[in-house]
Structures are given as C-alpha cells and as structure tokens.
C-alpha cells in the first residue's frame, strides 16, 4: 500500500471547471437550448458547479438534469443489482436540445454508453457532448470526450478518485491503490 498522491487540489479543480464552463459555452455557441446533465454520483455535483459558473458568466439560466444509469448497465447478469439506485431527473423532453453529459472520470466508456441509451428514452437531442473532469484512458468502447479537464496516465493497480466537498470531506483528485480483488 503506497500513500495516495494528490493529482489536483481544490484550486486546480476550480480552475479546471472554469475552463470547462467556458469551453461548453463556446462549443454550443451560447447557452440557448443547453441542458447540462450530470451522471450520478459525482457528475451531478460537477454539473451543478459548471452550471453555476456558466450562469454567472453568461447571465443566463441553464437547464440541468441528473442521470442515474444503474438500470441501463450491462452487468446485471454478472455483477448483480447495485444496492442503491439513484434518481434520474431530466427536463420533460430533450427533443432539439443541446445536451452536455458531465462525469467525473472517463475510463471504460461503459457508463457513457448506458447514459446515451437512457438519454435516447427522453427524446432526440440536437447534439450530445461529453465533458469529463479526468480522462484516465482504458476505453473498452469507441467513446471519447469532447471536453476534458485533465488527461492522466494511470499505472496498473491504481485508480483515480474524485473527491468533492458536497459529498466528501474536501475537493481533490487523488491517485490511490486499487482495492484488492
């Protein structure tokens, strides 16, 4: 067991989120029809922070949503039911909207695959973009992020944890040992 390394501290996260917020507005040429959707759990808090930043910067109201992809996973038959299923709250329809999915860490891409399936059940957005705080590589599906906070090479046996003060004790991105199997 080695000591966890801090990759991003609170100030670095804050700086990264401000850049991400600007890039989202640029990517969508404004805030019209924009819907920022966070993936449970920490994607939701990140989405909330990003929306607050955009609203302050652009002086506009931005729609937000939360997505719990538990019921769209592809591993129920193998891993079994997750103990806690979160809530999905989205605007009534996504038809014609410019949806931005926000997640903390992009790894295999399976969560995003499930999120895309779930979004499709709520309508036909004009465009869906993906924003992640950390891209750690290791994709198992042909999925890439449109806006990335930080790209990190993660050595075997390590994992990336994003801590956010809303649910954890502080803001930080740390590199820790993977739980023993």
């Amino acid at each position: 067991m080695s000591k966890p390394t801090t990759l991003l501290d609170a100030r670095a996260i804050d700086r990264t989120l401000r850049r991400i917020a600007d890039e989202i507005v640029e990517l969508n040429s404004g805030t019209d029809d924009l819907v920022v959707v966070g993936i449970e759990r920490r994607g939701v808090q990140l989405a909330d922070r990003i929306v607050a930043l955009i609203e302050k910067q652009e002086n506009a109201t931005v729609a937000r949503g939360a997505l719990d992809i538990t019921l769209y996973r592809d591993d129920l038959q193998t891993v079994g039911p997750r103990p806690v299923v979160g809530r999905t709250t989205l605007p009534l329809t996504l038809d014609g909207k410019r949806v931005v999915i926000v997640d903390d860490v992009l790894y295999t891409g399976r969560t995003i695959r499930a999120a895309l399936d779930e979004l499709a059940d709520f309508g036909r957005p004009a465009r869906i973009a993906l924003v992640v705080l950390i891209d750690r590589g290791g994709r198992e599906l042909p999925i890439h992020a449109d806006i990335v906070g930080r790209t990190i090479d993660v050595p075997a046996g390590k994992r990336v944890d994003v801590l956010l003060s809303e649910v954890d004790d502080r803001d930080a991105v740390i590199l820790a040992d993977r739980d023993p199997a």
Partner: protein
C-alpha cells in the same frame, strides 16, 4: 444466483428490517420510470418471467405485468383455468415444464398457504409469492409500507390499525410482520370471529370497537370483507358488519387527528368502507396502486442477476 434478498421473495416474516428498507428505498427511484413518456428501462432485457395465477386477480397480476414490462422482461401469463392445470397437472409438474422452456422467474398466486415455498424449494428459478392462501402477500405488504412511509416518514412508533377479516387475510399477516420490523405499533380491529385466536401473541393490540381503533390510530388499513364469509357464518349480515365495523366519515370526524386510509382492494363500498371515506381527502388507496408497480419493479430488480462466477471475470472494469 443470489442477490441481497436471496433467491426468492416468499414473505415479509423472513426478511430483515434492512432488507425491507432496501426494497422500499429501491422502489423510490423506480416510481419516476412510470412517469416517463417512454415507460421502460432495459434492466431485465432477455429475462423471461412467468406469472402463474391459480386464483382470480386483476390488480396484482396487472401490477406485476407492468413492473416486468417496464423493466423489459419477457412475460407469459398462465391462469389455472384454460391451462393444463385444469387437466389435473400438479403444481411442480407445471413449473418444471415451464422451467424446461428456460424461464428465469415465477410469480405465483395460489389458494394454498405455503405453495410459493413448496415451489421455490423445487425449481431453480426465482420465485415471488403473489399471495398464497391465508399465509402472506409480501408485495402488497411492501406497497402498503411504502405508501405509509411516503405520507408519514419513518414508521418507528407510528400507530397503524388493520381493520376487518384478519383471520383469512394474507395481506394482514404481511402487514403485521413488515410494520413490526420497521418499528411501528400495530393493532387489529374486527369481529372476534374474524380475528385469529392467537392474534395477541403476534404482539398486536386488539380493538373490539372501531371507534376505539379510530381514536388510537394514525392510519387504518381496511381489509376487504370477503362476501363468502357471511355464508360461512362468520358474520350475521353485511348490513350489521357495516353498522358495527364500517369505516364511515361520521366515525372519522370524531378522531382526534386526520387518519390515513388504506385499502388493498377490491373494495366493497358500503360494507367495510363508505364511499365518501374511500374517495375522501385522506384516502391513499390509489397511491397504493401506483406504488405497487414501483415496489414490484424493485423486488424484480433485487432478485435478478448476480452471478459471482461471471462477476469475477468482469472485475477490473468499471462500467
């Protein structure tokens, strides 16, 4: 294939308080699915569920079928009339034949107490008890608990009275077990001829007068009075039952507080419950029906899947 509830759901008597809370907590997000325009998630895609109903049922069967379909399972309904059961096939033979066609779950309603367990011990599929004789009706108990919790919050110390034919009621038994495990105080009220002899041993209060029950309770769960009970001599007449034990608005007006009204259905309006109570402001009877679908989705989800052998192979990947 065992998840957090084990292989089967046979009764609330054998679940822990934690397991009951897990089902209720899981049911909450499932409610939202039924409010969507596309009321379907792919969770149980590829699973086959047989609804094996040896007794008449509309609400429970339809509720299970909605729950199954909204989770994308494939469903087959088998009723006793018009099936090989009517030709004298035994329960186990029927189920084994269905299993030979590769099914994953059986939802069973049967007039004999213990039928669900009997089946569960003999087949590999998950078995869900949808009512067995006078034993238990666990998903009804769970949806009653969820409805009570929606309106009252934590049920610890809350007072719930079950009114009517407790003796023949599997709903009453599931409710008593579930409520007690969640820490509620439980009472029953009805004619002595329709209360089990040993009812006090279940740790419940007994009220002989509905007025006293209404004064005590924060919620009444009013059971259906099965009309056959009159022929069998348990009660003298329906009119007299209504006069003595009927829940009427005149009686509820005397209560020191608003009393929540539950009924598992189908109702006999004017017998155990008056129409103005059933349709009144404190009635949550239709909320129970809505919650029924969510609770059954939660049970199906928690019983499904979970293959440790395959999980090992999948480990390492974060979905």
């Amino acid at each position: 294939m065992t998840g957090p509830l084990g292989k089967d759901l046979l009764g609330l008597d054998e679940l822990s308080a934690e397991q009951i809370r897990l089902i209720l907590d899981t049911a909450v997000p499932f409610k939202e699915i039924s409010e969507r325009q596309i009321k379907k998630v792919p969770t149980l895609r590829g699973m086959t569920i047989v609804n094996l109903f040896f007794e008449a049922s509309t609400r429970t069967r339809v509720s299970f079928e909605f729950a199954e379909k909204r989770l994308s399972a494939d469903t087959v309904n088998v009723a006793s009339s018009g099936s090989s059961v009517a030709k004298g096939e035994t329960l186990v033979d029927t189920a084994r034949n269905l299993e030979a066609m590769r099914i994953d779950m059986v939802v069973i309603r049967h007039p004999a107490s213990g039928a669900a367990r009997f089946l569960a011990e003999r087949i590999d599929s998950n078995v869900i008890n949808a009512g067995d004789g006078t034993h238990e009706h666990p998903t009804q108990g769970l949806l009653d608990l969820l409805t009570l919790r929606d309106h009252m919050g934590d049920l610890t110390g809350r007072r719930v009275c079950i009114v009517g034919d407790v003796l023949h009621s599997r709903v009453a038994r599931s409710n008593i077990h579930g409520l007690q495990k969640l820490g509620a105080e439980v009472a029953v009220c009805g004619p002595r001829s329709l209360l089990p002899n040993a009812v006090a041993e279940m740790g419940v209060q007994v009220f002989d007068r509905i007025e006293a029950a209404i004064e005590w309770a924060e919620a009444l769960n009013i059971l259906r009075l099965q009309l056959e009970r009159m022929q069998a001599g348990y009660i003298p007449s329906l009119r007299e039952y209504n006069r003595v034990f009927g829940v009427t608005s005149a009686r509820l007006e005397k209560a020191p507080r608003d009393v929540l009204i539950l009924h598992p259905g189908p109702m006999n309006r004017g017998v155990e419950i008056d129409s103005d109570v059933a349709d009144g402001p404190h009635s949550v009877i239709l909320h129970q029906v809505t919650n029924g679908v969510a609770v059954r989705m939660a049970v199906l989800y928690l019983l499904a899947g979970g293959r440790p052998d395959l999980a090992d192979a999948a480990k390492g990947g974060r979905a």
